[in-house]
Structure formats: structure tokens, C-alpha cells
Symmetry: C2
Subunit: 476 residues, 2 copies
């Protein structure tokens, strides 16, 4: 009864995907709405996922030589204005601080929407010689973008992220760094979040305000929409010129540095929900789940059951295991941990104990397996690895099934209207075609993938000679 | 030559303590100044200290049952206004956001100076039954207080901190939590930062805006000034009444929760500098140092020296060791790691290698010890433990030497004027005396210490019967 009630409280994703999403976000205790327009409260379970993301990425950043710093959260207007493209991109969506206490500020400041300008200002102070390079900095913080329409994790006025900002002696090094960090993101998404990504470059139209080139990882959600899941920008020496970041080279000449920046955010949690979730709730990949195993005692009032559960927990000390000995019914608990996407459930009751066994139940497929307690640690290890892999394979299969090829404009229009998913199509490189496609089909260019295919030799829009294959799609 | 130059660049603490402090902050690469008034840039070395503080405290918070969350950084004005004392305390020093993009906001919002109001708003939403209690939440974030005079780490317009916010079913539980977390802070300061603290209660005049009782740990800096290093507040049910946070008890009655909050900040880094530092720079306690051992090759161009250094680093894998093989001179490196407060230096040159030995040099005392490479790991372990303990003992001795007792007002005035340090004196409990002492001597009440002594039976100010012994002092 109870678990049925819990499950039916979620809207089915086929009925209303957006509603299904917000239902999960609330019912799995990831987020609560706040009194602050467009800002979310990240609850303990949601924050624990973010902490796991941070832990893995932070380690990868350190392994690739990066150091963490902390910059002010405010940017004086004059500083934001220093790089022309950048300010045009961000000024319309920043929050402005105009008063400190009872006094009006001489110059208003925005709350950082991103921190390029602050890092540049700092780099101009601390970089003097080629010996000071490269500077490989990262910061974990929150940023603010005054969005009109918001949705938890996907688009909110404030979100948590990391932003890497690096300065290099040469254009080549900056380009290497840009691609290195894109690969770190791609690798993380695929190995930890079990989300397959398309790596590619943004068109000039879609690139970051102030960048020479923006690279992206694009993932596909269950409803066939794309999600930009991480970006890495090569700034060339544009910011360095605007901010006067120069160094004396070995040749004693003054040169501008070349810079990059790259970031991922709590948006990744939105991706996890929309790639793996189902009508019973969240489904978390074992490599990122705050609780990997929910151990549910059956008939826990019977002698020895709870003791045995604690004993089994000890055996599973390599995993994060939660024994739920609350006074709720087992059925309620099953539904609760399904909602929360815990990858593996273990049921353990008097009969199991008698037979020296436990029942393992996969969250993703609901498959059950009775295993001996003698080698339960090995069984759990293997099953978690199996789940991790299965989630990735399922997501990859889904992406491939829903990726279409459009050879001409009519086909593109038809697919855009009738079939969700990525669309591959050739492009002449002209922004006019990009704009026309967006206006007439509502799909936008996602990226120029690194893995190119030659679908045809003509632009899907104008028919002129094609230069590149692009991924198109509707996007969050 | 080079190291001499580096050292002489710092002002001596006896000449100008404030200048000495800011010199260290800059020269040890902890902080850089930014274009944002009163806000600091925390550089990699400074941030690494904060990360170590976070790591230890976060672990202690989790062990005591707390969970991390993230609240919005903005507080709508109407929300801030809900608890009268609280808004009076903070409104004069908040930064106000009035515009989002090009539009004026319907209601202005402040950037959080602290998040009681946001947690209360959330608690009112999620707490319904006694089953939901206690709620033991913490968040790591930055906060903004629009200070007029600022100094890195000690008082800045933006700083990093953690703020615990808890809700309990009874007044007793809230009081237990308040003291439990004060003890966590005290224990952390003494065991990790090697800073002895006085635990006590703030007077009503000095307590937190909206609190029933504020507890504090007070530490003594090298110049004899006190630093409030962490606070823990018991709110009773005042906030709960203002925000309507009620729960249904086992008896089915609606009751307001009892709440606490507690926090420490990057200010602790200021305390480390001012308690342990000397005229050669920073001195870091081994238990919190980002680099515990600086391994300096001597005559590193000679064959085998760098190889041996790397080999020794391997032997010391339980410690954070930095081998500096840059092309700077050993003298420059000695001065550099002294400035950065690295607890232990190891010198290793061809002669040492020949003799299967290394030279260990303590940062705090500069004592040298020649040790065999055969048991260098054990020697390093012992020496780091010795340094950790010595720093604590030295700071404790300094605090005791500079703590005075004042029996009457003349004595209090005289000590306040002529002798830096804590002053113990009796108090009748009347706020008028507290105000008079502050006005006429410039010292302020630090706390009513848990460890009471009966210095006399009369108030140091009015001569009426004394109720408590207080600690007084000049403070940061």
C-alpha cells in the first residue's frame, strides 16, 4: 500500500517529462524551493551527489597540475567592462549590488556570473616572467545569472560550479590545456556519471563571450533533448590584451599570455536525473551515488536480524551502505530507496539468515539475485560494476537510436518536428544557414563533433559545398 | 645574500605588528589584494590551508551527525526583517542587490551576511513531526559584511566560513548541541592549529543578534590582542516563533523547535599567523601545513643528489613533502620555506649521501639534527609531533604570561593601558559596568569563561557583589 502510494505520486515521464523531472527533484529530497526567486536549496542528498562530483574532479584537477584559489564574488562594473564581447554577453543577466549598508556605492558591482575578469586582473598583478607560467588555477564557488525561466539544476539564478582559469606562454599550450580539460570532463561523465557525451567545438555563434574557440561535451536526455554538460574555452590572447597580462620571455621580450577557462556545474545533477531516471524515481550510477547499497532488514523485530544486518554492513566496508532500521515497513523502504536511486538493495530476513544468504536487487533492472553471505562483498562489487556499465550502455544505445541523419532541409525539418534526439547534418560554415535552421526548425547547433562523418557534400540548408558535419538538437 | 634580502623585506613584529602581519600575508603568498574594495584573493597556498581546515572540521561535523546543504546566497529584505534583533544587528552591514540585468527588482535582496533566516524559512517547510528532528545541517560558503576597515582574513567584506544550523525538539538538546560544537572548535584549535583557547559565554551585550546565549572560543595573538576564533549560539525558540517552525510531538501537540547556529571562518588563518609567526615569516603547525617538509637538495647538479632526494621523498610518503629542485640557490630556498612556515626542512647534499644521513631543521626553533637515512621516516614523524606540541606549549606559555588579574578599577585601567594580554576581573553582571569599562579603558569583555576563579567578591567597576569572573582585552 505505502510504497504504491509513494510511487504513484510521481508523474510518468511519458505523460509530462518536465513534471516528472521536478517531481523527482522534490521527492528524492534533492532540492527544496526557496523564498528567493529562481534560487534553489540543495538538500543533503542532493549536496552529497555534488560533493562526490567535487571529490573526483578535484582529484583529477590536482593530478593535471591545477591549484585551487578563491576570488571575490563581486566584480566592479568597470572591470566587467574591460573585455567588450564578454561584457555584452553577460551584462544583461547579472545581479547588481548598488548599496553597502545604508550607503550607495560609488561604483556598482555585479555578483560574478563567471570570473574571467577577476582572474585576469589578478594575473596581470602576479605574472611577470616566463618562470611564472603556466598558471593553472581553479575555483569552486557559486555564480549568479539572472535567468527569466528557471528549473532546479538545469537553469537557476544561482548555481554551484567550478571554473578553471589558466595562463600560458604560448598559443599551443593554451590549446592543449583547453582540449585536456575537455577530455577530463568527457572521461568523468562517461566513467563516473555513466553519461555518454559527444565532444566537439561550438560554432562561432554559440561560443562563449570573449572566447576564440569553445569546446563542449553534449549529452542526450531521455526526452531527446540535448544538454550542454561542460565547456572549455580557448581565449587566445584577447583577454590578456584587454587586461595587460604580459610576461618577459626567455628572449627578454614582452608577450601577452594565452588563456583558457573551463567549467562544469550542478547542472550535471540534472543530467544524471534525465539520462538515468525512470518512473520510480532517480537512478544513480554506483560511482557517484551517496548511498551505494540500501540494506533493508525484513522482520527486523525478530531476534538476530538487525545484528546480522550490521555484520553484513561490516563485510561491505568498501562500499557506502545504509542499514535502514527505522520503524517503516520494508515496502515503504523499498520504494523510498528506489525513489532515491540507490543502485543496489539488499534484503535480509530470518529465512535468509537461516540459509546464510541475502537477496540483492538492482535498481536499474529490478533483477533479483540470491547470494551466499560467504562472498557477499565480491557479489556486491561485481553487481555495482555491472550496473555502472549497464547504465552507460543503455544511455549510449538510447542516444544512438535517437540520433538521426538529415541530408536536406525538408528532412531536417521533418525530423526536428517529429523525432526527438540529435540530428547530424552537413553545414557550409555560414552563420546565415545556422540562423535560418534555428528559425525554421527550432533546433540549434550543438557542436561540430571531433568525430566527423561525411553524410553528403552539400550544406543541409543552402546546398553549397559543406565544410563540416554538425550535431543539431533541441536543448535545455 | 638572496635569503637575507628576502627576510629583510618583512617588517619586524616589534616595530609594527600590523605591518608585519600584512607583510606575511603577501610574502607568504597567502593573499593578493583585489580591485574589489575590502575583498581578498585567496591564493593557492592560503587556500590550501583553508582546505586542510575544511577537511578536518568537515570530518568532525559528519562524525557528530551533521549533513551539508547549500542555501541561496541572497536574502529577500522581508525575510531578513522577520526576526527583529537579527535584522537590527545585520542590516547596517549588508550589501544590497537592487537590479537583475536591466530591471529593478520588486524587492531588494541582500547578499547573506549569515543564513539564519534562510535556514529558518527552509525548516518551516520541511519540519512537521518529532520524527523530523533533530535537523543537523551545515554549509560551507562565503558571506558578505560591508565592513569599513578591512584586513585580510581578520575582517574583510567577503570571507569564507561554515555555518551550522540545527533544530531540536527540546531546549536541553539545543543547549547540548551548542556546547558540543563549541568543544569541537576548541579541540580543533588546540590539536590542529596549536592555538590554546579560552572557552566561555559572551555577555548579553556581546552576544549574537537574535541569540539567547552565545558561546565563544577566544585566543590570544602575539601582540596581546584577543581574537574571537569561533562562536556557537543557542537561539532558544525565538527564531522558530518568528518563522513558525513547529512540530507535532509524540503527545500530538504543536511545539516550536529550539535552534542553534555555529561558525568558524578564514579568520582562523589570521589566528595561525598571529599566534605562531615570527620575523622570518609564517610558522605553520604540522597538523595543518599544506607542505609539512621542504626537501632542499644541496649541490643538486652533482650526480645522485636529485635521485636521492626523490628516494627520500618516497620514504616519507606518509607526509606532504615538497622537493624543490628549481634553479634557485639553497639559501634562497631556505628563506622561502621559512617565509611560508613549512614546519620542517631537510637538507640533503653529496656529503650527507656519503654518510647516509640528512640534516633536519625545525622552522620554529631552527634546531638542527643530523639523522640517519635508515630511520628518517620515524625521525620526521617524531620531529613533526614535537613541533606541533612545542607550538602549542609556547602559545600557552605566552598567553599565561600575558594574562593579568585586576582587582580594582585603577588596576584595570593601568593594565589596559600598559600591559597587553587578557585581563581577568570580577563583574557584578550589570551592563552599565561593562559599558563604563569599555569607555574608560578601551578593553572589551571577551567572555565569561567556563573555568571560573574567585579573584575577589567585588565587581572591578562598581564594587558591588560580583557574580562572575570575566576575561577582558583589546580585540581584533
Amino acid at each position: 500500500m505505502q510504497d504504491k502510494k509513494l510511487v504513484t505520486e510521481i508523474t510518468s515521464m511519458d505523460v509530462d517529462f518536465a513534471k516528472w523531472y521536478t517531481d523527482i527533484v522534490k521527492k528524492a529530497d534533492l532540492v527544496d524551493y526557496s523564498s528567493v526567486r529562481g534560487c534553489m536549496i540543495i538538500r543533503p542528498y542532493g549536496y552529497a551527489i555534488w560533493e562526490n562530483i567535487q571529490k573526483v574532479l578535484n582529484q583529477k584537477f590536482k593530478e593535471t597540475g591545477h591549484e585551487n584559489v578563491y576570488m571575490p564574488m563581486f566584480i566592479p562594473e568597470s572591470l566587467l567592462n574591460k573585455e567588450k564581447d564578454h561584457v555584452e554577453g553577460f551584462a544583461p543577466e547579472v545581479a547588481w549590488v548598488t548599496h553597502g549598508g545604508h550607503e550607495k556605492l560609488a561604483e556598482r558591482m555585479c555578483v560574478r556570473p563567471t570570473s574571467e575578469t577577476l582572474f585576469c586582473d589578478h594575473y596581470a598583478n602576479i605574472i611577470e616572467s616566463y618562470r611564472d607560467l603556466p598558471k593553472l588555477y581553479n575555483q569552486w564557488c557559486s555564480v549568479v545569472r539572472w535567468e527569466k525561466t528557471t528549473r532546479p539544476f538545469l537553469r537557476s539564478c544561482e548555481f554551484l560550479w567550478q571554473e578553471g582559469h589558466t595562463a600560458h606562454a604560448t598559443a599551443e599550450e593554451a590549446q592543449e590545456e583547453t582540449i585536456r580539460m575537455l577530455n577530463v570532463y568527457a572521461d568523468f561523465c562517461e566513467k563516473y556519471l555513466a553519461i555518454p557525451v559527444v565532444k566537439g567545438q561550438k560554432t562561432d555563434k554559440e561560443k562563449f563571450a570573449g572566447a576564440v574557440a569553445t569546446y563542449t561535451i553534449e549529452s542526450l536526455m531521455h526526452d531527446g533533448k540535448a544538454l550542454q554538460s561542460g565547456t572549455s574555452h580557448n581565449f587566445g590572447d584577447g583577454f590578456a590584451k584587454a587586461f595587460g597580462i604580459e610576461f618577459t620571455g626567455k628572449d627578454n621580450k614582452l608577450t601577452n599570455v594565452h588563456q583558457t577557462s573551463w567549467g562544469v556545474s550542478t547542472r550535471l545533477i540534472g543530467a544524471i536525473i534525465m539520462v538515468h531516471g525512470d518512473d520510480s524515481g532517480l537512478v544513480l550510477p554506483p560511482n557517484i551515488a551517496p548511498i551505494q547499497v540500501a540494506l533493508i532488514p525484513i522482520a527486523q523485530h525478530k531476534e538476530g536480524v538487525l545484528d546480522k544486518c550490521r555484520e553484513v554492513k561490516e563485510m561491505l566496508s568498501n562500499f557506502t551502505v545504509k542499514v535502514d532500521d527505522s520503524d517503516k515497513s520494508p515496502g515503504w523502504k523499498f520504494a523510498e530507496y528506489e525513489m532515491k536511486g540507490v543502485p543496489l538493495r539488499i534484503e535480509l530476513g530470518p529465512k535468509d539468515i537461516e540459509n546464510n544468504q541475502a537477496v540483492l536487487v538492482r535498481r536499474d533492472t529490478r533483477e533479483k539475485k540470491v547470494v551466499s553471505l560467504d562472498n557477499i562483498a565480491q557479489e556486491v562489487k561485481e553487481m555495482l560494476a555491472t550496473i555502472q556499465d549497464a547504465l552507460f550502455q543503455k544511455a549510449l544505445a538510447h542516444r544512438e537510436e535517437t540520433t538521426s541523419v538529415a541530408k536536406d532541409f525538408d528532412e531536417l525539418k521533418d525530423i526536428a518536428q517529429n523525432k526527438p534526439g540529435f540530428i547530424k547534418a552537413m553545414w557550409c560554415g555560414d552563420e546565415a544557414c545556422e540562423i535560418k535552421i534555428k528559425e525554421e526548425t527550432t533546433v540549434t547547433s550543438r557542436c561540430i563533433p571531433f568525430e566527423q562523418e561525411e553524410i553528403s557534400d552539400k550544406c543541409v540548408c543552402c546546398g553549397k559545398p559543406a565544410k563540416k558535419m554538425l550535431y543539431w538538437g533541441k536543448a535545455y
